[in-house]
Amino acid sequence: MSMRHIIGAVIVCAGLAVAGRTVLAHHAFGAEFDPNAPIRLQGKVVRLEWVNPHTWIHMEVVRDGKPEVWMVEGGTPNTLLRRGITRDTVAVGTEIIVDGYQTKDHSLKRANGRDVTFTDGRKLFMGSSGTGAPRDGRDPTEGGTKPAPKKPGGR
């Protein structure tokens, strides 16, 4: 068995190899969002709810010439708090682009934040490795292949 097989198999079993750039959440996204209602939103952040189990980003978009406030579901804030990211990291008024799927109840203006970026395509935040385990410099892989930004998401 080749190294490639070992690596691939272990990673798959660890649940890391999820499709594309998005990932599964702690509840049934398939029961909450409608695969037949894809949506692209662009607008300014008006409020962030930095709560568990899911962060919600409220944004104002213009649809059919009228302003609407949409809510976008994200993940747990705890992981971002550990990287120094708070709800104040993204200022109200910041313009963002979201692609996702609308809730199955179409009367709600809500969607999953399948991909949330700034208007130039950069991710709203950056993923970083590490879980708080001690880092002592003995491990050459520490910090990843690129330095993990301490306060990602900022300009």
Binding site: M1, M3, I6, I7, A9, V10, C13, A14, L16, A19, G20, V23, L24, H26, H27, A28, F29, G30, A31, E32, F33, D34, P35, P38, I39, R40, V51, P53, H54, E73, G74, G75, N78, T79, R82, D99, Y101, T103, K104, D105, H106, L108, N112, G113, R114, D115, T117, T119, G121, F125, M126, G127, S128, S129, G130, G132, A133, P134, T145, P152
Partner: protein, 353 residues
């Protein structure tokens, strides 16, 4: 002390028939790095017990079960390094900017599988999965399960298979969306979506825990979903009909190892399809300044054809646990229920046509 603590452990491992870790004895005899040996002595609580207190993480990329095509429990340093690098490269790839002119995702779903249900989830940056291979007694591990020797959960009994099928059928039924209390415990913010016992990681995020000790009790607080399990030291289990959310845990010390025995799990909880007869024995052993070796054995004769045992290193964290403060119904639960109502209306209209 280091050697005396490790020797019985390696004997137990060999007794478990881990032919695959034939080198365990040798590794156990190896002295730890000089810097660790010099700087660390086992801290003890005022009553003389090993001090397990602190904040720990059980995050790891080593899966619970060994992939079927991987033969050995022990990975080489090179294999482990490549796996860790692959995870970091993946993270870097997912950090790359998206096309700002991207359209809405595809009509009909984006092809995601599993619980994400074809609508994707959310960005990778929310996640904090384990990006390290688990190292136990100097061995880089390909699975958390060490026994059976193939690193796999033993076959389920016919009774367990029937139970699983019934559960799956129930989960598929439309009735599951008829009442908030029909939804899973995690979705309702009652308990973590990982098992509370044994303490295996969820491979997503917040795999952190705090241990607090008194002479009479040990408290294990999991960050997800603020699950605080209280272990009584000494005594006997509750009567069988009393089934606390996290089961009933009683502990005792075997030398410097804390042994915790948990039974009386409620029907709403299961581990890998277990029944009400689930019985978990956990062993916590502090092995250096940064590490508790955690070992668990799962027994449930009405579910598994044999017991199985796993090991996970708990690594000390230099950060605090964040309150998880799960808000039941933080939109998602209501969205799921109102989505089902919407679906019923839609299907009802269709039928009338």
């Amino acid at each position: 002390m280091e050697n005396s603590a490790r020797r019985p452990f390696s004997s137990i491992a060999v007794a478990f028939g881990l032919a695959v870790v034939a080198s365990a004895g040798l590794i156990a005899q190896q002295k730890p790095p000089a810097s660790v040996a010099k700087s660390w002595t086992l801290a003890r609580t005022p009553d003389g017990k090993p001090d397990l207190q602190g904040i720990w993480t059980n995050a790891t990329m080593t899966p619970l079960q060994r992939p079927p095509n991987v033969k050995s429990l022990v990975l080489s340093e090179e294999e482990a390094r490549k796996m860790e690098l692959a995870a970091l490269e993946r993270r870097d790839r997912l950090n790359e900017p998206s096309d700002p002119n991207r359209p809405a995702p595809p009509q009909g779903g984006d092809g995601s599988t599993g619980a994400a249900g074809n609508v994707g989830g959310y960005n990778n940056f929310w996640l904090d999965p384990g990006e390290r291979v688990a190292i136990v007694d100097g061995q880089r591990r390909s699975s958390l399960i060490i026994d059976p020797p193939d690193g796999r959960i033993p076959a389920r009994t016919p009774e367990a298979q029937a139970r699983q099928a019934a559960r799956a059928k129930q989960a598929m039924g439309r009735g599951q969306y008829d009442h908030p209390e029909y939804r899973p415990l995690a979705e309702r913010c009652l308990l973590s979506f990982g098992p509370t016992t044994p303490l295996v990681p969820n491979y997503f995020y917040n795999n952190n825990l705090q241990i607090v000790q008194t002479p009479d009790h040990v408290m294990i607080l999991m960050e997800m979903v603020h699950d605080a399990r209280i272990v009584r030291i000494g005594g006997t289990h509750l009567p069988k009909h009393i089934r606390p959310w996290m089961g009933d845990s009683i502990g005792h010390w075997e030398g410097d190892t804390l042994v915790v025995d948990t039974t009386n799990f409620p029907p709403q909880q299961n581990f890998q399809g277990s029944s009400e007869n689930l019985h978990v024995v956990e062993r916590f052993r502090r092995v250096d300044a940064d590490t508790i070796n955690y070992r668990f054995t799962v027994t449930d004769p009405t579910t598994f054809t044999a017991p199985f045992t796993g090991e996970i290193p708990f690594k000390a964290m230099d950060e605090l646990i964040y309150e998880y403060a799960c808000h039941e119904g933080n939109y998602a639960l209501a969205n799921v229920l109102s989505g089902a109502r919407n679906e019923e209306k839609r299907l009802g209209t269709k039928q009338e046509k």
